[in-house]
């Protein structure tokens, strides 16, 4: 058996970079799952579709401001605007979903909110299909900001920032990594240092107890949904910038993988979500590179099932105590 690929350091570095970028995306999605699960013990199946809506909002801003081929404003504020719009819209969407699909079920049997979440996911997916059609929409990030887009002259997003072993690390990848890192730091600080963060921790520890201490748990849960969905919105725009294509069904698989990341890292744990995201991203990139694309998804699912069987609480999670 020959392993020519295994010694190809260029491919290795390329896969590493792909894996890390993909992983930070999954990590952001995983955070939303993880936060919601931590506070409500609810698997928010609709989270992947919130991410999809984020990608579409980013596309909508891009189109409103002249389209990817001839944007009306400079590229830097354009991208910032896309991120802001997608994050705010998704945050609001998350709050609405929580208000109408989950809050009425706070005291229902455990199975009811799960089915409701499934329904929301399906509703969002098909609403996007109805509104935007089945075709792929492209951010055209390859030519975004280019001087001659009609000649396919690459735009600034593809500029190499670093070169490692002949592999270019493009500006768009740096943007994704930097945005993810800053969002992560902001979230960690928010949860650790602020008043609402403290309330969130208290609510996730014991909702009834927190309510008795005068914490408005409904508001805390709503803000958890807001923040989780906000991160998903950012991830959606990142996906659009990285892969240049958004479509109505993209949320399902990304949601599953973000979810895998959350579980692998330990659901409910914020650093765990990020670690899980990186692991899933790397596993997917390397499986796709060395085993072939068709095995990428199966590898990710295999990892999930393995982790669930061997260490159900995840890598950084604490063991769930079944309360009597």
């Amino acid at each position: 058996m020959d392993l020519p690929l295994a010694f190809n350091s260029e491919l290795f570095v390329q896969l590493l970079v792909n894996g890390i970028t993909l992983g930070s995306l999954y990590g952001l999605i995983a955070l939303g799952y993880s936060m919601v699960y931590g506070i409500l013990k609810l698997l928010n199946f609709a989270h992947g579709d919130v991410y999809m809506i984020g990608a579409f909002v980013g596309y909508g801003v891009l189109t409103l401001l002249g389209g990817p081929l001839s944007p009306n404003i400079a590229i830097a504020p354009l991208i910032v605007l896309m991120f802001l719009a997608a994050m705010l819209a998704c945050g609001a969407l998350g709050v609405v979903i929580e208000r109408f699909a989950y809050r009425p079920l706070r005291d229902a049997p455990r199975i009811a909110p799960l089915i409701s979440a499934l329904g929301v996911s399906f509703f969002l997916q098909n609403s996007a299909l109805l509104l935007f059609g089945a075709q792929f929409r492209s951010y055209d990030s390859f030519v975004l900001g280019s001087k001659n887009p009609e000649f396919f002259e690459p735009g600034p997003l593809t500029d190499p920032v670093f070169v490692v072993k002949h592999v270019n690390i493009q500006l768009v990848q740096v943007i994704v990594l930097a945005t993810t890192a800053s969002l992560m730091v902001a979230l960690t600080l928010l949860v650790a240092k602020t008043r609402i963060g403290k309330a969130m921790r208290a609510t996730s520890y014991d909702r009834e107890g927190a309510a008795m201490m005068g914490i408005d748990t409904d508001r805390v849960i709503a803000s958890t949904f807001f923040m989780g969905s906000l991160l998903a919105g950012a991830a959606g725009v990142m996906f659009g910038l990285l892969f240049s294509q958004v479509f109505h069904f993209m949320g399902f698989l990304a949601g599953l993988k973000g979810f895998t990341a959350a579980v692998v890292g330990g659901i409910g744990s914020i650093p765990g979500a990020m670690l899980g995201g990186l692991l899933v991203g790397l596993a997917e990139a390397f499986a796709a590179g060395y085993l072939g694309g068709r095995w990428a998804d199966l590898t990710v699912f295999g990892i999930l099932i393995l982790v669930l069987l061997v260490r159900p609480s995840g890598l950084l999670g604490t063991r769930a105590i079944q309360k009597v």
Binding site: F100, P109, S116, V120, F123, Q125, S127, R294, G302, I305
Partner: protein, 481 residues
């Protein structure tokens, strides 16, 4: 309650004890349905269903029999299997559709040209059912270690992995791809009874009907049995069940295996009737549909599953893309009127709403036409007599593409607002909501009925869960406060 009993008794929770009494006092449509369901004995319901179902081939065309008859029966079968897992044992199995797919693919491998194996149904069906049940057992093993939610995850991923495996991985076994990849497996043998092929639709229909009736009878006795009662106890409170020394894990696995076996049976029939299987038949939308079947009728109720399957499949077929659009249109307006009749009381308030909708439509149409003729000159999608009425009443603009999308979003917002207001405000808000839903129907849904049905199914699941989680005929949980 009699006067003498009106004092606290040791060991009896008043709230729980009066549960049945409170149920008997239920009013409204659902209460009525429940009362009828309680009064009519099970054998009478079964006979009624069998008698009506048996006459179907006499007055239905071959295509209709396939779409309405056979598919409804397959949905009943699928719903019954899921009902054992979700309804009886209370386990959220999101990989159920993969078990159905496994059954269908396995049957296809055993009885088709794919590998040149042609086992008779008398052997292949039992083999498939038993192996699907075993697979369900294996899949259920995590539920021993993993609590509630984790089970949902594992099964969801199993379902997804199944689709990926069948579609993309398609490992090569004995010369060619095991599952045929995206093309699936074609030329599957029909079911046969000891060598006699069931080739016509009518024969297949009766065969499936007999299978469904047998499964219904079996499940009825099962749910009345010791095991059935233990499952219900498990669903209501696993901890209490364990404290009563019930073997919780074994019961869970049994439910899984049982439901899986029924799914495998449904898979055999599905593959034989369709004569081809592809992975698309076993993806998420079908799972959602089966859940809708079980939940609409009422989790845990056999009659509920049958009713749910009929309602869901008939509306499903009405909204199928190949169906003439007047059917979908008639169904849509009929459902709206029905919902209004059921939800708006008393009758004079209903009259105000209906009148208001009609007036609002005429007024809005006139105003839109006065502003610019292009607002009302959009082409009405063909379809029967109702199309003529709607074209003079609903605003269908020509050349305003964003209008349809804006109307859809406005409708979603309005419906959500409607759930937050009460009394006269709600009555007042119902009027524009109904009119707007007519606009959305005529401008976007009617063009894409397939998408519309998934949107409505998704909304239905959320709606049922928030308003009536036990469905039409299900038993509401006894909450011990």
């Amino acid at each position: 309650m009699e006067a003498g009993e009106d004092r606290p008794r040791v060991g009896v929770d008043e709230w729980v004890a009066s549960h049945d009494d409170r149920l008997a006092e239920r009013t409204g449509f659902a209460g009525l349905a429940r009362k009828i369901d309680d009064r009519v004995p099970a054998w009478a319901r079964l006979t009624l269903f069998a008698a009506v179902a048996a006459t179907l081939p006499l007055w239905m065309g071959r295509g209709d029999l396939f779409a309405y008859g056979i598919f409804t029966l397959i949905y009943i079968l699928l719903g019954l299997g899921l009902n054992v897992i979700v309804g009886n044992a209370g386990l959220l199995d999101l990989g159920y559709v993969a078990l159905f797919g496994f059954g269908a693919y396995f049957y296809a491998l055993l009885s088709s040209e794919h590998y040149g194996i042609h086992w008779p149904s008398a052997i292949s069906i039992p083999v498939v059912v038993v192996s699907t049940a075993l697979l369900g057992l294996v899949l259920g093993i995590p539920s021993r270690r993993l609590l509630g939610d984790y089970l949902a995850i594992v099964t969801l991923f199993f379902g997804q992995a199944f689709v990926v495996f069948v579609n993309a991985a398609n490992p090569t076994v004995a010369g060619h791809g095991l599952t045929g990849g995206p093309n699936g497996i074609a030329d599957i043998d029909p079911n046969d009874i000891f060598g006699y092929d069931l080739s016509s639709r009518t024969q297949q229909y009766y065969f499936i009907l007999v299978v469904v009736l047998l499964v219904l009878i079996g499940l009825h006795f099962l749910s009345e049995s010791r095991t059935g009662r233990a499952w219900r106890a498990l669903r209501e409170d696993p901890l209490a069940a364990e404290a009563m020394s019930m073997p919780v894990n074994r019961l869970k696995l049994m439910a899984f295996a049982f439901g899986a076996g029924i799914a495998g049976l449904a898979g055999c029939i599905f593959a034989a009737v369709l004569t081809a299987v592809t992975s698309g038949n076993f993806a998420l939308p079908i799972l959602i549909t089966i859940y809708a079947v079980v939940i609409l009728g009422g989790i845990g109720s056999l009659t509920g599953v049958v009713i749910g399957a009929i309602v869901i499949n008939v509306s499903f077929q009405f909204l199928a893309p190949e169906n003439p659009q007047q059917n979908a249109r008639i169904l849509f307006y009929a459902v709206i009127v029905l919902l209004l009749v059921l939800a708006v009381r008393p009758w004079w308030r209903l009259g105000i709403v209906l009148g208001g909708v009609a007036v609002l439509g005429v007024a809005a149409h006139a105003i839109a036409a006065a502003i610019s003729p292009s607002w009302t000159s959009g082409a009405v999608v063909e379809g029967g007599r109702l199309a003529g009425v709607t074209s003079d009443w609903v605003i269908i603009p020509a050349g305003h593409e964003r209008f349809a999308n804006a109307a859809y979003i406005a409708l979603v917002v309005l419906v959500l607002t409607l759930t937050r207001v009460h009394g006269w405000w709600r009555t007042a808000l119902v009027i524009p909501t109904v009119y707007l839903s007519a606009i959305v129907w005529e401008t976007s849904f009617v063009e894409q009925p397939a998408v519309a049905r998934w949107i409505l199914f998704g909304a239905l699941l959320v709606f049922l869960m928030t308003v009536r989680p036990q469905g039409l005929l299900g038993t509401p949980r006894v909450e011990i406060v």
